[in-house]
Amino acid sequence: MTDRTDGTERERPLPRVAGSEAQMIQLARALVGDDNHRYVPLLRRRQKFGEQIGPSAMALVQQTLARGVAMQLIRRGGWQTRRSLALRPGQAPQPIRGRLWDRHQPIPALHFGPASFALLAWLVREDVARPNRELDRHPQTTIADDLLHYFAMEHLLRVGGRPHEHAGFRLSPLTQLGFPDALARESALPSVEFDELVGVPEHAFVLEALQSDLARRWVELERTKGTIESLEAMILLGDAQRSVLGRLFAALERAKPARRELAGFVVEAGYQLVHRGPDRRWWTASLDTRAPLAQRQRAFAAAAALLDALSRLGRWVDEAGLVAHFDDDYAAAQMLLVSWQFMRQAPSAAERARAAGPRPSGFERAAALARELESLHSLGV
């Protein structure tokens, strides 16, 4: 590297870091790097690691996180053209359409704190499949720290980690939203509030950026339901889904102004699942129904958790259609109607022509499937 501060070229020394610090930097690069599907062997090794790192290493970690997280947000959905509410001081909220950097100018800064360092240090020190110490939830966890925990989840699960055993992951709103299945493997999800995530504009933009990533995750976990044999496992999963979506929806409605559009990932996931016309057995095909009817019914109701959430969102859409043009939230209501139009529509005109009768919209189809799963008719007799 060269430095031309005074007209002469001078070689700038390359930063030197200790071996363990290099591993921390490598792990940071893996978490926010290009390939979030690769296996990271470092996560399965134990390494001695102090409580601090040197300034060179810290600068490299900061640089890695700053550049990497920005790219991740863009790659995971920020590049898509979407609609959201623009919240500008002194102005009424207005829908705005564009990519993430069009909708937020300037893009809010992300501040990494001690929680990110604690996470990276833990990943260096421990074999994540058999750790000696639990990763605690840091009391000063920022939204950027939560984001890093979210990015770490898939890597951990790929190498056999058990994030549900660590409060650092279990109590993170973002990881609960993205990975309720992984965090509720053995017990119910702890209740964490989403008000700060959705109500603070500097945090909510992260949720905007992750919409398609969250939709992908929810489609994946919904697809696993057809392979679940244990009624208990289905009940745990369904209860976790209801818990996290119930808290999210409540927070979205409590926010001032209400940010209902941030539930868009549920609608996108729902569209991918119901528009092909699966029947109720798609969700319960592998369940071992040799159990009391009460337990069977709980499991079937759990299988319908996402479908129930979709019918609730369908009611939001119905309510949006009734908002008068002179109401303050008319613009937000219209934005919801337009953004979720694909689920309000019945299938294409060609399909309607082929069908024997009227075909329901995506929301209606989801509500009907949920009713079927929860009715007496579905209990496998």
Binding site: L293, L376, L379
Partner: protein, 188 residues
């Protein structure tokens, strides 16, 4: 040379076990008329089907096998349940070897093993009784579903007729009992 003693131990256990099973579902009645009127129509059909009104407006029917069907017309929910109980008297005998006739430790350990074995047997009896109750409920569910569907359809049909009468002059009503379709012509 030490001798081994053979000691016969016997433990008994008396237990009363109770199991139950049940499910709850909704009747999915459309809100064609106000809820109270729908509840009234439903109550009439339930009375005709052998249900009895109990406290708090619940309608209940118990069949000869003890299966209880409970309908709440205001909430539009139906609960089907069954229970069973059994008195158990179990005894287990085991022969053990001890190196002293008064070997308390070995005796106690053996007694604990026998007790654990008896508890395990109680668990097996509970599972078997639970399976019987579940099987009994399953056997009823098919017919019950059909009966409740018919009740719902009759309530819906009657509600539609009343609604039509409130809109104007009913000129014609035709029902097809095979398909369940109902056609009402109203002059408004």
């Amino acid at each position: 040379m030490s001798r081994a003693y053979r000691i016969r131990l016997s433990e008994s256990l008396r237990r009363h076990i109770e199991v139950d099973d049940g499910i709850c579902s909704s009747l999915e009645l459309l809100d064609i008329l106000p809820r109270e009127q729908m509840a009234e129509l439903l109550a009439r059909e339930l009375a005709a089907a052998g249900f009895e009104e109990r406290d708090e407006g619940q309608w209940v029917r118990v069949d000869d096998e003890g299966v209880v069907v409970r309908v709440d017309p205001k909430q539009g929910t139906v609960t089907v349940s069954a229970a069973s109980e059994q008195d158990l008297e179990l005894t287990k005998t085991r022969e053990i070897r001890a190196y002293a006739e008064n070997d308390v430790v070995t005796r106690e350990r053996a007694r604990a093993d026998i007790q654990a074995s008896l508890e395990s047997e109680v668990g097996e009896h509970e599972k078997a009784l639970q399976a019987k109750v579940t099987e009994k409920l399953e056997g009823k569910l098919g017919d019950l579903r059909q009966e409740l569907d018919k009740i719902s359809n009759r309530v819906t049909g009657e509600a539609l007729k009343r609604k039509a009468a409130s809109l104007g002059e009913v000129q014609e009503i035709s029902e097809d009992p095979e398909t369940g379709s109902l056609t009402i012509r109203v002059k408004i």
